[in-house]
Symmetry: C2
Subunit: 420 residues, 2 copies
């Protein structure tokens, strides 16, 4: 029995994801496909366009056997923590043989070489990084510079290092490998070259389009169900589920769905309260506070905070952490506790149920199928992580248009998705 692990957001699930899944199954010859999926908030610091239950269903209808949630703490975090959380969960299952990710580069050996440098941090690299940071560059940019100079000056071997580490999926992949090394995990990393639209491209073309382009299409065509334009880029199951969610008034959800909430919450806060949230330092709290005063929309809010030092993504993560009451202290405490505290099942099909019964014996973390059973867990870390997850859902549902679905507590009342 071979188990393939994927790390996904499925926001929304599109033909590129189906291509990746099929290629990964072919490459790994695995019998089972498990995915660790972001919940209601994603790595770019945004709410997911439809909720995690709907996206888990799309995944199961498209060939995934078991969907596990990446807790919001990691899902809405830097590439490093995102990768750490997701890989740690795949590793903790005790059954995962492979993790297969899409990358622009497509060659695993070279990504592994870069990951090794990040893991071991040889002195020349470390000095370079320090130097770049002292210039006031953001951490991702400084690391990029340090890696480039390290490879060019120390161990080049003809590697097009610049080309590799400027692509976001290569970076995530490198982080996955880094975590595998750190955890001394037996999981074998595989990569498949990404095809079709480049990540982040704004327009839908051909049958494979980026999730960003698809979300842009949804945002530009708000009042109408997903139509002709989406048919060529989404598998039928995903399209059906989007249509159903929109018809119910549960989406599409965008960052702008929360703009009044975010602006009002920040206007009510003091700068020193804002300083308690992740990635806020060096006066960023004042920029955030002033930006909320000066802005009338989400876009204006982020634009008013932006500086050379902070990426848009990082700012958005901070904003949604503020909304979701996730503090820097929370993040640090969970990292001190080894990261993810549980394996939370969002859904499974028949095969997935079999696999789950095996995982229940092999897993090194508690398996949560029914969240309400863990609401009052005697383990404070489990309780806290689940409470933050539940609260972020309590906020997320306020983005629905239909008031009937805005009630809090859905983390404990929505059923696990079963596809038999």
């Amino acid at each position: 029995m071979k188990v393939l692990g994927l790390i996904t957001e499925y926001n929304p699930l599109h033909n590129g994801h189906i291509y990746h899944l099929n290629q990964a199954l072919k490459l790994s010859r695995a019998d089972y496909a498990v995915c660790v999926m972001s919940g209601n908030f994603i790595q770019r610091g945004e709410p997911a366009v439809i909720d995690k239950w709907a996206r888990a269903k799309s995944a199961l209808m498209s060939g995934i056997d078991l969907v596990i949630e990446l807790p919001v703490i990691f899902a809405m975090s830097s590439a490093e923590l995102f990768a750490y959380g997701a890989v740690k969960i795949l590793d903790s299952l005790g059954v995962t043989d492979y993790v297969c990710f899409g990358s622009e580069h497509g060659r695993i050996e070279e990504l592994e070489r870069i990951a090794s440098v990040l893991c071991s941090e040889p002195p020349p690299y470390r000095e370079m990084l320090k130097e770049q940071l002292s210039k006031g560059l953001s951490y991702p940019v400084a690391r990029e510079q340090a890696l480039i100079r390290h490879f060019n000056e120390t161990e080049g071997f003809g590697l097009n290092i610049e080309g590799i580490i400027r692509s976001s999926n290569n970076i995530l992949g490198i982080e996955y490998i880094k975590t595998l090394k750190k955890l001394q995990s037996p999981i074998i990393p595989l990569t498949i070259p990404r095809i079709g639209n480049t990540y982040g491209t704004g327009y839908m073309t051909g049958s494979i389009s980026s999730a960003t382009a698809i979300r842009k299409y949804l945002s530009d065509n708000l009042h109408g169900l997903p139509g002709q334009g989406l048919k060529q880029v989404l598998p039928e199951a995903s399209l059906e589920i989007l249509a159903e969610e929109f018809a119910q008034g549960r989406g599409p959800i965008f960052s702008s769905s929360f703009e009044d909430i975010l602006i009002s919450i920040i206007r009510k806060m003091t700068s020193s309260q804002i300083r308690e949230y992740p990635y806020v330092s060096e006066g960023l709290e004042n920029r955030i506070k002033n930006a909320a005063d000066e802005s009338g929309s989400f876009e204006e809010l982020v634009d008013a905070i932006l500086t050379k030092r902070y990426t848009r993504t990082r700012i958005q993560r901070t904003l949604f952490c503020i909304m979701n009451s996730i503090t820097a202290k929370d993040l640090n405490e969970f990292m001190a506790q080894g990261g993810p505290q549980y394996i939370r099942i969002l859904g499974f099909n028949g095969k997935g149920r079999k696999l789950l019964s095996i995982i229940r014996r092999t897993a090194s973390l508690p398996v949560i199928a029914k969240t309400s059973d863990f609401k009052n867990s005697t383990d404070a870390c489990i309780r806290k992580m689940l409470a933050l997850e539940a609260f972020s859902t309590d906020m997320y549902v306020l983005g629905y248009e239909n008031a009937a679905f805005k009630k809090a507590g859905q983390e404990f009342t929505r059923n696990i998705i079963r596809l038999d």
Copy 2:
């Protein structure tokens, strides 16, 4: 020179207000009409349907000479505090000869008799009140019961006490007179019987309709400018201003405009944080907290909090105090400091400017024409009251549809309304 004072909300200004103003000028033979007007939040615990600058302009275009703001602390308060704040300001001008209010009853002597009982609190009345409160009745209901029994048993004189004190405008009027007595003010109270639709009636009929009916009409006809239906009940100036505000995307504003903001803010709070807000006691904090979890709309939120002990109005005031960060401590501190800390001018016409130059010499409180001059006042009470006003405006503007008008700080940047 005779000066008439009115206490108004003009939410929005309608034919009934014009009738009242004309009758009051006739009755008092006054040369000047001054009004103390609620700002962006009104006594029923709701946001005003258009902002205070627009409503001040309506007032000036309809015959009022000088518009003074009732600070939000008093504007969104019980009849007692509302009346105290407004009458105190009229008194502090040093020029006001009359205050004239509309009442269902329409006979000033009998209202004065009731006010005297409330002022002196004779022992039988006080005992009755205590008895009723101990039964768990809300304060307004308990007071009503105590007054009824006091008058029926002690000094009846054929007064239809029940009929009088069950009407909201009679109650406000009685509170105005009570405050005049307490302040030993020389201002003479006058009353004019209200005509047309009863306060709070849901439908518009005839040429005089209640503000409630008009707001209901606006809410039912959201997407269209004020049309034919409003022409019969609003003076032209008021209609024009409403149309202009709606066209700009600055209204109409309803409680529901803030439902996501309110629900998200309360979901983020602990019960003990909620307990710091006005009128929250005896476990109401838990009801509010649970209601925010269970609700997806403003209506559901209020309905879920309602009990026999707390009126809808009182609950709404608490909710908007929470949104506006106005705590019970703030309220108590201002009352300990004698109530209003300043006379804040929202607008004037040519006559009003002349009157204002007189008031600058006679007033017993500082006169604020330019708020930015007082932002850093050395008087901490003035600074605080103005800061709360400014913050409630920072929240109110988030109710506008047009993002361009949602910026904070408008309390200090919007100009005084001049009508020459």
